[in-house]
């Protein structure tokens, strides 16, 4: 039995970051990862999807360039080479993490760990099992795609985000069940590869967690690219015959439709991996592990971070939770602060937001003022031919506190950090209005919004 100060179970963005910081703080640390280091995000989530989305962006760019006087023969795609590039990216990042962990003198156990209530963890590697123990345990087991109980589903070869990258050729047609963040991103990837894409969304709009205007713009864009979007539809049954899948879907008004496609991608959400903690009777909130502000579970010295505790299931949230948990190992020092957590969707145009949405503001009865400024009025957008999109700034009436920012358009996933900074450093609309933005730049839309909100709009 090897004793550690800290044992981290789960090597995703939450776990490995926590392990690195714990080691930096002088803790003897062990990291248990059943699969590859980097977790879902690195291997099956963020990184591969953003890599492929880059291809989509290039393809769309080339097509757009046709009427800019830039001519090419018609395009051909090699899925194999595309996936090869994806794998290279993943491999590079994965070795980076390994190197960091070694440098941090962190023992990595590459096997499935089971956590016991006496701070012991059993790790099974191949047919060997190792016993390790830790003064403190950090649970970072993450989550996996949820599979809804549609009848006939298990007799069909469907894909989830875990398996979609195993396809060997570009499907003729595909149905994506779920119009959420992941659904629309994959819709964007496949439509750029000329696949006939259909999105079946249970709710009344795609990306429901985000701003309504944002989903309008994205919907219009997807349709323009030939994606069929069916909202308020539910998949009632699925069947497969000679590798063609047929879905029976019914709308909330009872209208029934039948879709026959080559592939099905399920993107209806995720569920936490809790098998590793089955022995511990931790207090749960729904399916997720319950934690307090200091990320402690109901069991003393046991912490939990990342998708397993629910909330915003984003890599950077998991990492932030991991760091906070490590700070609190020897006593509650730092409360987890979710105030400034940006959310990004890497479609084209992209969608990014931080702070509260308008819906949330209305629901909490907060007196706010809002200004929406379209990219079509921005010099850089016009020059780059990326005029689709807008920025929306919500401020508190009394002090001009920045309550929320939503941006739709090219590069907004990078620009959102500027607004995050204002929230984090508690700048107000006055400072935002006064701060000089580079010209020409898309960021200027933020300055316009801010100035309009204090009644001194320049170009509005």
């Amino acid at each position: 039995m090897t004793a550690y100060d800290v044992v981290v179970v789960g090597g995703g963005p939450g776990g490995y970051v926590a392990a690195l910081r714990a080691a930096k703080n002088g803790k003897k640390t062990a990291l248990v990862e059943a699969d590859y280091l980097g977790g879902t995000c690195l291997n099956r989530g963020c990184i591969p999807s953003k890599t492929l989305l880059k291809h989509a962006e290039i393809i769309e760019g080339i097509e757009k360039a046709k009427n800019w006087g830039i001519k090419t023969e018609n395009l051909s795609f090699s899925l194999k080479e595309m996936f090869a590039r994806k794998d290279q990216v993943i491999a590079a990042l994965r070795s980076g993490i390994e190197h960091l962990l070694n440098a941090g003198k962190i023992d990595v156990y590459n096997g499935f760990g089971t956590i016991h209530d006496d701070k012991r963890v059993t790790v099974v590697i191949g047919n060997e099992s190792y016993q390790i123990s830790g003064e403190k345990i950090i649970i970072a087991t993450g989550s996996q795609p949820a599979v809804p109980p549609i009848n006939g589903l298990n007799s069909v070869n469907y894909h989830t985000t875990d398996t979609i990258f195993d396809i060997t050729e570009i499907p003729q047609s595909i149905v994506i069940v779920g119009g959420g963040v992941i659904g629309v991103e994959f819709a964007n990837i496949f439509t750029s590869l000329k696949t006939e894409v259909t999105i079946v969304e249970l709710g009344d709009r795609i990306i429901p967690t985000e701003d309504e205007d944002a989903s309008q713009v994205l919907l219009k864009n997807l349709k323009k690219k030939g994606v069929k979007v069916l909202t308020n539809y539910q998949v009632s049954s699925i069947e497969e015959s000679n590798s063609k899948k047929t879905l029976m879907i019914t709308s909330d008004k009872g209208k029934a439709e039948c879709l026959t496609v080559d592939e099905i991608l399920l993107a209806v959400g995720r569920k936490p991996n809790v098998s590793a903690i089955s022995e511990l009777d931790l207090k749960m909130t729904g399916r997720h592990v319950a934690v307090n502000d200091y990320l402690e579970t109901s069991k003393k010295d046991y912490f939990a971070v990342g998708d397993v505790i629910g909330g915003l299931q984003l890599a950077h949230v998991a990492s932030a939770e991991g760091l906070t948990a490590v700070e609190n190992l020897d006593g509650n020092k730092e409360k987890m602060n979710y105030k400034v957590m940006p959310r990004c969707i890497y479609t084209n145009p992209q969608v990014a937001s931080v702070g509260m949405s308008e819906a949330e503001l209305k629901e909490k009865g907060i007196k706010y003022r809002v200004n929406k400024y379209n990219f079509s009025g921005n010099g850089k957008a016009l020059a780059a031919g990326e005029t689709e999109g807008f920025s929306k700034v919500m401020i508190d009436e009394k002090y001009g506190e920045i309550l929320g920012v939503v941006m739709v358009g090219a590069h907004v996933t990078e620009m959102i950090s500027q607004s995050s900074a204002y929230l984090y450093l508690e700048g107000t609309v006055d400072e935002f209005a006064k701060m000089v933005q580079p010209h020409p730049s898309l960021s200027e839309v933020l300055m316009e919004s801010a100035n309009t909100l204090i009644g001194k709009g320049i170009h509005s």
Partner: protein, 445 residues
């Protein structure tokens, strides 16, 4: 013609002189330049010299009296000339007293204002004090490095560097808005930076930023002018005169009929429409005649029995009320009373009442009959000693000699100043008034 002999000004600082002795007796002849009297000033003894040759007609001050410079002390003139009636003539122009000139000197020297009281007893150099004040730092928190712990500028500079308070723009705005001195709030942000939350937690801001219920701003008008005058008089009356209010139910049926019959008659006479108010006023005046002990005023230590009956009539005007007075109401007929009441009422509402039209009232009637008011406790309109509150006239079932009948009933409320009017005489007056209204024909007697 007699010439004045004045106390001469015999020295720059001389204000007055004492007559030590008269060197010449009245009636004696005096040559020009001869000494007439010896005078003592604060410095020396001098002589008053005759400016002309003549006979000393009269001396105004005897020996030993102090006389102001320029005052006439004696008269010279011809033999036997009379000098009565000249005594109190003031002599010559007033001289500008010396003290007056010194005032200009004070104006010229710039007067140093009293140095601000130095509260704290901390030893520090001016430069240190200046820097500390500019940064609102309490010098008590700094240890001086000069001899005797005297604080010098460098000490303040170092102190500033150590705990310069960092604060986010938002938190600063909130703090300034609530006038919070955030210097002594512990910041929870990175290395002590104050963030919005710190302000909330220091609960100096009670209302949550989220739910801000702004109360509608109330309408405010200044408490002055006519409103203030009325207020003062009301409280004066209420707090000096012990008020007692008697109420009585009056059967106005007959008066109502009287009014209906006389209305067209009077209208033909002077175009004014008779109302119950005038009927009641006439009845009140009539009753006051027979009850002089109600028609009284208290003036310091005397009770004044008013000779005439001047009945005031309270009229409501924008943000206040005025009381035009119908003089000798007991001697006027209903037509005259109606005319006066109506015209004065209009003047009052237009704010054109003359002061004399509101003076010398001996009794006041306050009529709230147009509202759903029966009895109330009117406040005496001092210096009067009683006031009649008139309620509404309303059909009511009443027992009239054993049988039930519908009669126009009205409540009268008589407040009286119990210092000079007792319950009995007040009750007697109210009873007569009631009987008069119930049998208005008595008014003709």
């Amino acid at each position: 013609m007699a010439t004045e002999v004045v106390m001469p000004k015999l020295g720059a600082t001389m204000e007055e002189g004492t007559i030590i002795s008269w060197l010449v007796q009245v009636g004696e002849v005096v040559e020009e330049g001869d000494a007439i009297a010896e005078v003592q000033t604060d410095k020396i003894v001098l002589e008053i010299e005759a400016e002309t040759t003549g006979v000393l007609l009269k001396t105004l001050y005897d020996e030993g009296s102090i006389v102001k410079v320029q005052e006439v002390v004696a008269y010279l003139g011809d033999e036997g000339e009379r000098v009565e009636g000249l005594e109190n003539q003031s002599s010559g122009a007033e001289s500008e007293p010396i003290v007056e000139q010194n005032k200009t000197f004070a104006k010229v020297a710039d007067v140093l204002e009293a140095p601000a009281e130095r509260g704290n007893k901390i030893r520090r150099t001016p430069a240190a004090r200046k820097l500390a004040e500019e940064n609102q730092i309490d010098l008590r928190k700094i240890t001086g490095t000069r001899p005797l712990g005297c604080i010098q500028k460098i000490d303040v500079v170092n102190f500033l560097a150590e705990n310069a308070k960092k604060i986010t723009p938002l938190a600063k705005k909130i703090a300034d808005d609530h006038g919070i001195d955030y210097k002594n709030i512990a910041g929870s942000g990175l290395n002590g930076k104050i963030v919005k939350a710190d302000l909330d937690s220091s609960n100096s801001i009670n209302e949550k930023v989220e739910i801000q219920k702004s109360t509608p701003s109330e309408k405010r008008i200044p408490f002055k002018g006519i409103r203030k005058v009325i207020a003062d008089r009301m409280s004066q009356s209420a707090f000096t005169a012990p008020h007692v209010t008697l109420t009585s139910q009056v059967d106005m049926t007959n008066s109502v009929r009287l009014r209906e019959e006389l209305l067209p008659v009077i209208e033909k006479v002077n175009g004014y429409r008779l109302s119950y108010n005038e009927v009641i006023l006439k009845a009140t005046a009539h009753a006051l005649q027979n009850h002089p002990d109600i028609n009284v005023s208290l003036e310091k230590d005397e009770i004044v029995y008013r000779s005439n009956v001047n009945v005031g009539m309270a009229v409501a005007v924008p943000n206040g009320l005025v009381v035009p007075v119908i003089k000798n109401a007991d001697k006027l007929g209903l037509a005259a009373i109606t005319e006066e009441c109506k015209s004065m009422g209009k003047l009052a509402r237009d704010g054109k009442l003359l002061p004399e039209q509101m003076q010398n009232g001996t009794f006041t009637i306050s009529n709230l009959g147009m509202y759903a008011v029966d009895g109330f406790t009117p406040i005496i309109n001092q210096p009067e000693s009683a006031i009649l509150g008139v309620g509404r006239i309303q059909e009511k079932p009443v027992a009239v000699n054993g049988e039930l009948a519908i009669r126009s009933m009205m409540t009268l409320s008589l407040s009286f100043d119990h210092r000079i009017i007792d319950g009995a005489p007040a009750a007697a007056f109210l009873t007569e008034l009631k009987e008069t209204l119930e049998n208005p024909f008595r008014l003709i007697i």
